[in-house]
C-alpha cells in the first residue's frame, strides 16, 4: 500500500512539473513578437541598431520572467517536493 502511495506522489509531482512548464508558451510568443518588431525597426532605421538591440534584450529578459517562475516551480516539484511529501506520508503512518 505504501509503495502505491509513494508511486502516486512521484507520478503526480512529475505530471505537475510538466503541466507547470506549459507556461513556457507565453514567453515564447512574447519574445518572438519583440524580436520581430525589433527586426522591423532595424530594417526601417539601420542606424539605430545598437539602441534597438539593447532595448530588445532588456524586454526579452523581462518577458522571460514568467517562464522562469514556472521553471523554478517545475524544478522544485521534481527535486524537492517528492522528498518532503514522502516524509509527510511516512510520519503520518
Amino acid at each position: 500500500m505504501l509503495e502505491l502511495a509513494i508511486g502516486i506522489i512521484l507520478g503526480c509531482c512529475a505530471l505537475g512539473a510538466g503541466i507547470a512548464m506549459i507556461a513556457g508558451i507565453g514567453p515564447g510568443i512574447g519574445e518572438g513578437n519583440a524580436v520581430a518588431k525589433a527586426c522591423e525597426a532595424i530594417g526601417r532605421q539601420p542606424e539605430s541598431k545598437s539602441a534597438v538591440t539593447s532595448t530588445m534584450i532588456m524586454g526579452c529578459a523581462i518577458a522571460e520572467t514568467t517562464g522562469l517562475y514556472a521553471l523554478v516551480i517545475a524544478i522544485l516539484l521534481i527535486f524537492v517536493a517528492p522528498g518532503i511529501m514522502v516524509d509527510v506520508l511516512v510520519s503520518a503512518i
Binding site: 534584450i57 532588456m58 529578459a61 522571460e64 520572467t65 517562464g67 522562469l68 517562475y69 521553471l71 523554478v72 524544478i75 527535486f79
Partner: protein, 307 residues
Amino acid sequence: MQMSEKNTKTLKFKIVDCLLLVCIFLPIIGAIVLEILTRAPSEGISLSGAQIFFTIDMPIQKLYITEAQINSWAVVIAIFFLCLYMTHGLSPKANTKRQLLLEWIIEQTEKLVNGNMGEAFKNFAPFIATVIALSAFSSLMSLFGLYPPTSDINIIAGWAIAVAAIITYYRFKCGPLGYVKGFCDPIGMLPLNIINEIATPVSMTFRHYGNIISGVVVSVLVGAGLQGLSSLLLGSLPGLLGEIPFLQVGIPAVLSVYFDIFSGCLQAYIFAMLTMMYVSGAFNIDEFEIRKKKKELKKIKKANGGN
C-alpha cells in the same frame, strides 16, 4: 630617457606582475583542488545541489558552508587580484595594453551608467562594474569544471537583497513621509505597491537563477541522452570498444558555449541593467531638490531667528 626608465623598473615590476598573476589563479586552483578532494563518487550523470562542507550551529537555523559560498569567495579574491594586476604600473600617459583596456572598460561603464541613470548617479559606475564582474565571473566558473555560484539560489538572493536595500535607501532620501507617500501614489494602491516592492528582489533572483539552472539542467539531460545513445549504438561491440563515448565529443561543448559563456554574460548585463533601472526609478530627484531647498531655507530662518 623613457626607455631607460622603463628598463630600470623592469625586473621588480615583472616580479610583482608575476606574483599578482599567480594570486589571480591561486583561489581558482584551490577551489578545483577542494572540488577534486571532496567530490562524492557518483554513478553516471546526476543533478545535485551544492556540496555542504560543514555546518555551524546558529540560534535560529544552522549555517551551512557550501561549495557555492567557497567558490563565490574564490571569485571575489580572484577579481580583487585582477584589479590589482590591471592597475599595477599606471602612468599619466597610457602606453601599455593593460592600461588602455582598463580605460576602455571604465569609459564604457561610465557611459552605460550615465545613459541609464542620469547625472545624479555618476558615482554608481564602480558598483555596476562590480556587479557585472562578479556575476559574469561566477557564471564562467563552470568552464573550470567547478560548481558555478550563480546556480545556487542563495547567492543570487543575497545580491538581489543587497539591491533591494539600495532601492529602499534611495526611497528614503525624500524623507520618511516621502517614503510612505510613494507607496500611496495612486490612492488605494497600497497593497499592490507593497507586493511590487517584495516582488522586485524575488523576480531578479528567479530571473538570474532560472537562466543559469536551465542551462545546467539541459546540459545534464543532453549529456545523459548522448551517453545512452552511444552505448546503444556501440554497446553490442565487445570489450572496451563498446564503451567509447563517441557522441559525447563536441556536442556538449556547443551547448556550453551558449549556456555558460553567452547566457552567463548576458545575465550579468541584464542584472546590472535592472539594478540601474530600479535604483534610478526609486529616486525622485525633483522632490529631493525641493526638500533640500526647504531645509536650507529653514536653516537660514533659524539662524536669523537666533540672532
